[in-house]
Symmetry: C2
Subunit: 339 residues, 2 copies
């Protein structure tokens, strides 16, 4: 069919063309009541021919459900969150849900409120939330969670058992990583940890401290600059160390960059390790020793949990998920200088 008169086709028009009522068309589409084969055939033909697509708003208004979920991430241009988004997107697609991605610009409260409101405007049926700088005004989050399903991805939160979450085995990963560094012979390590308030940070630091109880811990941002600047601080204060644990790979990369500029060699002089295994990690020379998180899996599982709960109409039976991680040893870790 050619285009309508500028406006999209309505179900009524399809019904008219087929010589039936809208009810019949609706039931043909939804299958909620039997329709005679010939009629169904004819209607489907018309729908294809016209290129008819039901109005999402009207549908939702009536049915109460939009088959859309939201994903809030601190920064969509960050590879790690991008990967999570991709996982969510894939799973949502498989389960026939649409996705709205929201970048909260590192927990800018105004933005965040805006996205929380999306739930309340009934634009989306549920939300997957990944914490940025810190777990937000938890009361805000909890309020939202009270009115609609929320799943936490990447960052757990203990205080509200009612909100299911999906995280990586941060403690285990950090433990393995630290053990690896310890076994290389290092005894003096520093940790450039990232945001202090996050659960994952706490777990990672704890895991490292099992092998390096006295490691100096610096908190800060989760980006390249944080790694870069922290090295400056450490050197300026004559801190002596042979190993650096980055709170994530970006921090590690920043640290490496600065160490090199200061004339130190990685890993001959200093071992540097990260966390996440982002794409950069395998590309730099030498490759970064790190712990691989299944970012895509975090996304996929979060989406699965959320949609399962949505379909079940309750989150009673929904259990949180912890994904395994994997130690990836590359070239930035080696025995400490024998001097």
């Amino acid at each position: 069919m050619t285009e309508p008169n500028g406006k999209p086709w309505t179900m009524q028009q399809i019904a008219d063309a087929a010589g039936v009522s809208v009810t019949t068309v609706s039931h043909t589409i939804s299958g909620k009541r039997p329709v005679s084969p010939q009629t169904a055939q004819r209607i489907k033909g018309l729908i294809d021919e016209f290129g008819y697509v039901p109005d999402a708003g009207a549908r939702r208004l009536q049915s109460g459900r939009s088959r859309m979920i939201g994903l809030a991430v601190p920064d969509i241009s960050n590879w790690f969150f991008g990967r999570i988004a991709r996982g969510v997107e894939e799973m949502a697609n498989e389960l026939d849900y649409g996705l709205i991605v929201c970048s909260t610009a590192n927990s800018d409260p105004r933005r965040e409120q805006r996205y929380f409101n999306m739930i309340r405007t009934r634009l989306i049926d549920g939300l997957i939330y990944t914490a940025g700088r810190q777990m937000p005004q938890t009361n805000e989050l909890q309020k939202v969670a009270a009115s609609a399903p929320v799943v936490l991805a990447d960052e757990g939160i203990d205080s509200f058992a009612s909100i299911p979450w999906v995280t990586s085995a941060n403690l285990d990963g950090a433990r393995q990583l630290a053990r690896h560094v310890r076994e290389l012979g290092h005894t003096r390590a520093v940790v450039i940890a990232g945001f202090a308030g996050l659960n994952s940070t706490i777990e990672r630091v704890a895991g490292i401290r099992e092998s390096f109880p006295n490691a100096l811990v610096l908190y800060g941002d989760f980006d390249i600059d944080a790694g870069y600047d922290s090295i400056d601080d450490l050197l300026a204060n004559d801190v002596s160390f042979t190993a650096v644990f980055g709170g994530n790979d970006l921090i590690a990369v920043g640290a490496i960059k600065r160490l090199r500029e200061q004339g130190l060699t990685v890993p001959a002089d200093v071992t540097v390790v990260g966390f996440d295994d982002i794409d950069i990690a395998s590309v730099i020379t030498p490759g970064l020793t790190t712990v691989r998180q299944d970012a895509s899996g975090l996304g996929r599982n979060s989406a699965r949990l959320l949609i399962e709960g949505l379909e079940a109409g309750s989150f009673e039976a929904v259990a949180s998920v912890v994904l395994p991680v994997e130690l990836i040893v590359r070239g930035t870790s080696a025995a400490p200088p024998t001097a």
Copy 2:
């Protein structure tokens, strides 16, 4: 106010609480007709107190506009597209529009159709489209563009003057880059170009050929593997070259990796340059010589164009935009070996 009975508040409930009709409430919110200060005050108070948010679907159903735009990108976990998304998101936010990001998984047609349908379901008022592998079934795109506003970001398309676009000055960037390499003394260069069908690829190759008319051009993917594998092919066939132009930075990075593994030094033996200036470019050692695109600006301008057209109700006056680029010289380009 405490939560409603599980369901969100309706405008009617606010009206009842305020002792007025829904009309008055609606007008208080929209400001489309005067409301007495006291009444307005009271209603606004109630709205805040209740935490009332209008139902987006109902609103759209009535008004015909959703104040939402869509962004279709090939792969959201790609830094470059993530950056574009961020730009779009920022501008949309400034103009008080919501954003739905759609990852089309490298132009998977099924996915793409799904997102095109979003426009037709009236979920979004317009679409920003960034091409992946190739410009899609242009008729499909054109069909969509006929029923709702579309702006092309990053990739222009000449054939349809009706669709405005925002791109970088690819030709100019490539020209500058090639001239730089030429001036270093190189005479034998190869181009690992990326997808052949894209406008940007064509322009970049053209720009390079101005300085290297006989450069061998290899087409392929836009990722690290493409750069990596192409180097293998080149070496296996005894192609002699002292400079490699990557179609983008990922290709360049892959090429560098493989060259190193083959015992060649960058830039002493081979000069390698990229395009885009993604975050990795400045982090690897040595830094990658490349052309900086304003990815965020691509996003911002696309959103501006789209929303301006939306508000104006027409795209007659909307002009396409070409953003300037900047040559960034770092460490991977140097004079060819004197041997």
